[in-house]
């Protein structure tokens, strides 16, 4: 069937981890529609068995990312007109993660790596202590703040070829979080972070491909954060070397 101007031809990947294929749908072409909207339209009107995931619908929760015309994107904030080519769109599950069904992936590996990178706070204080005065313009804080708005959507993880080729690689988001933790003056785990990102899947695997930064919907720059980790680990490597 040929798409008329008021419909879109949407090719959607169907299947599970074991395999699948693209299936084509005709979807009405409304003004103000996002990719998530057309996916939902298909499930609600065309094929009730289509599976996908979303929650916030405003770019805050990072659960709706998919491959749109081969590019990883947050679908709830991707206007159809921005990506449509000849009235066609191709939608597939996010790359580099196991598929559960259709467009929904298993994000556990992404979060396991987040924790493996020590991407969590290591407290120096308790709830009984006052809140620390921290100059928001201090160099370390500015560095820590630069990656803090990550919504763990895994778009960068899907964009990175190193992730695709190296199952151990912790990936851009987890490493960026580690860099934030490392720069947090309230954190007691700085050496822990450096050790965690220096192992076989660590920051040193990154080839500065930069796809993470290009595709991050929040304009974050994990590549820069990873470079920071490389610098910090290298410095610490020499320091340790001179001590022993």
């Amino acid at each position: 069937m040929k798409a008329t101007p008021d419909t879109l031809t949407v090719s959607v990947w169907r299947g599970a981890e074991s395999g699948g294929s693209f299936e084509s749908f005709e979807v009405p072409n409304f003004e103000s529609q996002t990719i998530l909207d057309i996916v939902a339209w298909i499930q609600q009107n065309s094929d009730p068995t289509l599976t996908y995931r979303y929650a916030c619908r405003v770019g805050m929760c990072g659960s709706c990312a998919m491959m749109v015309n081969g590019v990883p994107r947050w679908t709830c904030r991707t206007h159809v007109q921005k990506v449509v080519q000849d009235n066609r769109v191709e939608i597939a599950p996010l790359r580099n993660l196991p598929v559960i069904k259709d467009l929904a992936t298993d994000m556990d590996p992404f979060f396991d790596k987040w924790i493996a990178a020590e991407g969590l706070h290591h407290p120096t204080k308790s709830r009984h202590d006052p809140i620390e005065q921290i100059n928001p313009e201090s160099a370390a804080r500015v560095e820590a703040a630069s990656g803090i708005e990550c919504i763990n959507c895994s778009v960068c993880y899907a964009a990175c070829d190193t992730v695709a080729n190296n199952p151990d690689y912790l990936g851009p988001a987890a490493l960026q979080r580690a860099w934030t933790v490392y720069n947090d003056s309230k954190d007691a785990g700085r050496q822990q972070v450096l050790d965690a990102v220096s192992g076989v899947g660590g920051c040193h695997n990154c080839h500065s491909q930069g796809s993470c930064a290009v595709h991050c919907p929040n304009d974050l720059n994990p590549m820069k954060a990873i470079a920071g980790l490389k610098r910090a680990t290298a410095t610490s490597f020499f320091r340790k070397g001179s001590r022993t």
Partner: protein
Amino acid sequence: MIRPHRTHTLWFAYILHRLSGLSLALFLPAHFYIMSLALTQPERLDGFLKWTDLMIVKVAEYGLVFLLAVHIFGGLRLMALEWLPWSNGQKTLAAAAVGGAFLISTMFFMRAI
């Protein structure tokens, strides 16, 4: 394959660095072999060096020097990115690395012909 998520400067810089490194690594044993002929069979070395007078070989050498230069400059850019304070001009630097490599290899080529 150049898939849509890859079509940007730094990814091209990455693949260029990798392919140049790979080619150099494959060329290197050959280079070592030819050079070691100096010890055992100097006349065969000369034979090879004569061969380099051919235009086609000159162009190949040009390519090789380009690959070496682009790999070096690319490598220096990467190490600067990793170890020096961050600079936002990574795209420009990557382009400069390629430009510099062209310059050097062309110089080599001009001298060679």
